[in-house]
Amino acid sequence: MIPELGQFALVLALCLALVQATLPIAGAATGRHDWMALARPAAVGQFVFVVLAFVVLANAFLSDDFSVLYVAYNSNSNLPAFYKFAAVWGGHEGSLLLWVTILATWTMIVTVGSRSLPEKFSARVLGVLGIVSFSLLLFTLLTSNPFDRLLTPIVDGNDLNPLLQDPAMVIHPPILYTGYVGLSVPFAFAVAALLSGQLSQDWARWTRPWTVSAWMFLTVGIALGSWWAYYELGWGGWWFWDPVENASFMPWLASTALIHSLAVTERRGLFKSWTILLAIIAFSLSLLGTFLVRSGVMISVHSFASDPARGVFILMILALVSGGAFTLYAVRAKHMVAEGGFKLVSRESFLLLNNMLLVVALVVVLYGTLSPLFIDALGLGKISVGPPYFNSMFVVPMLPLVLLMGAGMHATWVGMKGETLARKLAIPAVGAVVLGVLLPWVIFGSAGVLTVVGIVAGLWVIAASLFDPVRRMIRRDGARTLTRAQWGMTLAHVGIGMFVLGVTVSTSYNIETDRAAVPGDRWELAGYEIVFRGLRDVQGVNYAAVEGEFELRRDGTLVTVLTPQNRVYRVQSSPMTEAGIDARWYRDIFIALGQPLGDGVWSLRVQFKPLIRFIWFGALVMAFGGLLAASDPRYRSTRAESRVSSAAAVSVETS
């Protein structure tokens, strides 16, 4: 297909997005049904053309069309087909097209899923999504066109960055973007509510599954990025508090708070304006992340090639979309105060605390990330803010949150006696403390205070989450089984507990050594014996490598053979290391080759990382919990129900 077809498709999408962005909202304000009715067809049309553009670009990669500049920069004829497809989002222009495609897809799903919602409301929601689409499509076409041609012909392309030639790296951006961009949906719901001047508990019920779905993808996307960094970058780290990592984590924190705030709004009609504010903040953080990666304002391993002109454009989008939403909030939100009481010990209180602590964490991460910029801009010098700051400061709000989490799940709405709650929690609390203090000593032989605190916290959350479900199953209460949403909540919190355990144990008991070795050397690591068998040369499809062979033995028996490699990718002559990892649920053994030091001696990094898989398993369990919660039948209203509720909503809406 000719690339120009793709560009033309984007232009058509832009026009449809403009229609989608303007007329439905105007129609909702003036009561014009024909304008409101344009929302759905415009959204569908936009989706079709954006997907067409994406397909055209993908085809250009798969057919090695190096006359397209972006393909020439990011691909090569020797690249395996799978990576040629992934190369579509390997650079700025293509990843932006991915962003836009995913937004169009979410819009499409909202188009279908909002059929049972009131007419004005869905017109506004789609309208807001149209504004976002329009801005990003304009940005793409004016500054970042992936279909630009390369006028001087070349023989072969520049190859995809070897760091990206990895399966995890391939699925990480699409999944992450699905989450990131998906937060535009609750954002649109919030702005639609502000535009209408109304916010009902129904609104919260409509918004919640969209939020949880986006959150779910974001959780998996972040976990994938972390896991990839761990096994690919090879220094055994899984989170560096890099500005762009933080840029994906902050929307996660905001959307987690949003899910909990929506619970209160749905149930009691409280925290309305706060919930709206969170929804706006969450997506604004997504846009902020998009800005940070592409503007060159912060140094990051994730940065695309930066350009102040692009930065200014994204800043304008941010100003329009977020600034507009915040302004609307300032004007309209004060009309959304609700009456309703709850006692000191109640689920509402706990959720309020949850939100407060998550927001504190969010601000800590935001301030830490942006401080170097603030201080530089104020002429106060240049500083760096990295893991030493974040690792210690992030715990300040997080530890109370994790501890309160266990209790909050058991608090009832409106109010309860403190003693009742304490009695309920006694068994899991005592169990967690006892196990948490004993286990590290028994298994590892030593334990620092922080380690014990972390393990107790993780066990506490798991115990508190599972206490009720397990008790019901044992008692066979029969009639009252847990709903899918409740199982979702249980699993999501269990996931957090697993995550906390994984972080605490792998950080506290991690063993890492650098050593120089020759083939034949053997040494001991954490009860295992490692034997360096030898080295050999290996030829890959588009790389040449030196491979080391290491035997991992325990008590003499062979456990496995690890084969770390040092690769040189031919096209860019870029070196890459692939670590050799033996992964079990309870520990990783990790060997990476360094450099030849002469005379057959090689430097190596060898690591023992207990319970590190729990970090990502925990995230997966969390996400699965989200899936269960989002798919709970109570969010799917039947036609009859929805007609009743939309009639009621229409009679209530005034603008």
Binding site: S273, L277, I280, I281, S284, F291, S295, G296, V297, M298, I299, P308, G311, V312, L315, L318, A319, S322, G323, F326, T327, Y329, A330, V331, A333, K334, L370, P372, L373, F374, D376, A377, G381, K382
Partner: protein, 184 residues
């Protein structure tokens, strides 16, 4: 009432900083040596390792200290101008050959010209660290009393010379041209 204005206010402030940030250079590391005494060193000469060259050689003079290496592409780009500057600049240029291969360095100076009064060989990088070097080429302007007056990172160009170095040299030498032989 005012709390509803808080989000938009914070947002505007942050966007303001971002806009400012677009025109800053986040990766640039300013030198803490500015206005402080330049590091002292004494290293083997490139052309005659049995002799040494160091800060004592330009003590009392205004001088340029240029960090260079053959593996550094930008050094290659600035070299012709340095050769010219050695003739027309009025002050001596002392080289610090940073973690380089001696044979290649000598060949480089032979073929491309030698702008340096002398080049010191920093094989281990220790002296470069003392100077806070992180990205060759770097050029330091050292005053008569040994104070670091200015540091420029990346290639030397006529524009940089005129805009940053000349005014400071003129100020240092009281409006008169600094010559290599001028003593306090």
């Amino acid at each position: 009432m005012w709390r509803y204005l808080l989000p938009i206010t914070v947002f505007v402030v942050i966007v303001g900083f971002f806009y400012r940030g677009l025109y800053l250079n986040p990766g640039f590391v300013p030198s803490p040596l500015l206005g402080k005494p330049a590091p002292e060193y004494d290293l083997p000469r490139l052309k005659d390792p049995s002799q040494t060259v160091g800060s004592k050689d330009y003590d009392g003079q205004v001088a340029l200290v240029n960090v260079w290496a053959t593996w550094c592409i930008e050094c290659r780009h600035e070299h012709p101008y340095l050769v010219e500057l050695a003739q027309t600049g009025g002050i001596p240029i002392y080289g610090l050959n940073w973690k380089d291969d001696r044979a290649r360095a000598l060949e480089w100076l032979d073929t491309l010209g030698d702008p340096y009064a002398a080049s010191a060989v920093d094989a281990t990088g220790e002296v470069a660290i003392d100077w806070g070097v992180y990205a060759a080429p770097e050029t330091f302007l050292v005053g008569r009393d040994g104070t670091v007056l200015y540091k420029h990172i990346s290639r030397m160009t006529p524009a940089v010379w005129e805009r940053e170095f000349l005014p400071r040299i003129t100020a240092e030498c009281g409006g008169l041209p600094c010559t290599a032989a001028s003593a306090p």
